[in-house]
Amino acid sequence: MIHCEKVTKSYPMGHGRKQVLSELDLDIRPGEHIGFLGRNGAGKTTLIKLIGGVELPTSGKVRRKMRVSWPLGFSGAFQGSLTGYDNARFIARIYGLEYRDIRDFVEDFTELGAQLKMPVKTYSSGMRARLAFALSIAIEFDCYLIDEVIMVGDANFHKKCHHELFDKRGDRALVLASHSVELIREFCDRAMVLHEGKGTIYSDVNEALELYARL
């Protein structure tokens, strides 16, 4: 379970503060797939960062009672000046895993070959997405936080993601922030629409998508 209780987040802006999320409540149950919908700047990424513990809420609480992945997105989680292999080594060390297992998985999943010996800052966004995805999938979490990242990359990458995430790990919880209506409709049990700092959760995904289309 993940409990978000009256989660509020604001950032300093000029002389005042910009309220991004206000008093948001959300429970994520084991195995459940939740989609986050909202326009650009509605707070999807912020909420995912709070759930992942990357940033802390201004007020309110996030309680994690299962192993939650770090947010998988375009940025963060990597050291750009280190190679793909070094990043894999670092992840293996801090999560207490065998480097060889992670390396084999990453090589197999990313198909990046010799590029893994290059610093991550030289990667294209698609290559970065592959590496980010491979590293977090290599660690068995109970809940994966995914911020748009599956949307980049080619068809082959999409197929692999689907296979690893939805087929092999369909029993894990999943939080998916996306603008892709098809993705949310196909894979989510519930959806939350974020608008003006408030989050409304819908058990009927189609209802949420309709509302989102009208925003």
């Binding site: 513990g53 940033e55 770090w70 947010p71 050291q79 280190l82 670092f90 801090i94």
Partner: protein, 260 residues
């Protein structure tokens, strides 16, 4: 207790991983690799020592100028490098916040630790080298030397713990640090013993935690020949105060930290 032990295990793992990551990023795996970390303090101590040797002659107050500069300059570079490395350390390492087991105190600890290890290696290296030429004495009291070095490192770490969060709150500090660390030199005990100063100046510099630690170290190296004066309480109390305020500020800054 079980969770405390588990937490300790995780922190040890994280600190080990951060150490390797930092060493690889900063020094790479080419040529001498991580041994580079002692090169800068060595060069400083060596070159400044040569400079002073020509300016002041072989001995000052009955002590080898070379040995005196080495014992002073290596701790000074530790302090300057550690402070420099702590400025904006949280923003620079934002990507690490993606992993919840990494705490922001780990960053500061690891960065200061690398400087401490580098400086210690440089100290040992130069002492053995100068010792071979008869320019460095056998330490008169190794315990005092180590205790002084420990206090010096402790206060440096505590200061970094305080400066790291303050540098995130205000951009001004970042710009002031180079000049402040330079102005600090007379209060670092690098170039003189306390007893060489006028009585008024003695009272003033003995408020500096660095001076007290340095005097203790120099007593450890040169023994009674230097007439060292120190109060162990000064660096200890100063460290406790900096650490307390620093920890509170670190906690507050973590809450406000914006990660890309």
């Amino acid at each position: 207790m079980a969770s405390l032990a588990a937490g300790w295990r995780i922190q040890r793992r994280v600190i080990g991983a951060l150490l390797i990551r930092e060493l690889v990023t900063r020094f790479g795996r080419e040529n001498i690799g991580f041994l580079w970390m002692m090169v800068e303090p060595l060069l400083f101590a060596g070159l400044v020592g040569i400079l002073w040797r020509f300016m002041k002659g072989p001995e000052e107050h009955g002590i080898s100028v070379f040995a005196f500069i080495a014992t002073g300059y290596i701790p000074l570079t530790l302090f300057r490098n550690a402070v420099g490395r702590s400025i904006r350390v949280f923003s620079v390492n934002g990507s690490l916040m993606y992993h919840r087991q990494i705490k922001i105190l780990d960053f500061i600890f690891v960065r200061v630790l690398i400087e401490v290890v580098g400086a210690s290696m440089a100290y040992l290296f130069i002492a053995v080298l100068l010792g071979a030429f008869g320019e460095f004495p056998m330490p008169a009291d190794l315990g005092s030397l180590l205790a002084g070095w420990f206090l010096y490192c402790l206060f440096t770490f505590s200061l970094c713990l305080l400066l790291a969060p303050v540098s995130e709150m205000s951009d001004v500090l970042e710009k002031l640090v180079p000049v402040i660390t330079y102005i600090m030199i007379p209060f670092s005990g690098t170039f003189n013993m306390v007893t060489w100063l006028t009585p008024q100046a003695q009272t003033a510099v003995l408020y500096s935690p660095f001076v007290n630690a340095m005097e203790l170290m120099r007593y450890g190296v040169f023994g009674d020949r230097v007439g060292a004066i120190w109060y162990v309480s000064v660096p200890i109390y100063a460290s406790m105060l900096c650490m307390l305020v620093g920890l509170v500020l670190c906690r507050r800054i973590r809450r406000e930290l914006v990660v890309e």
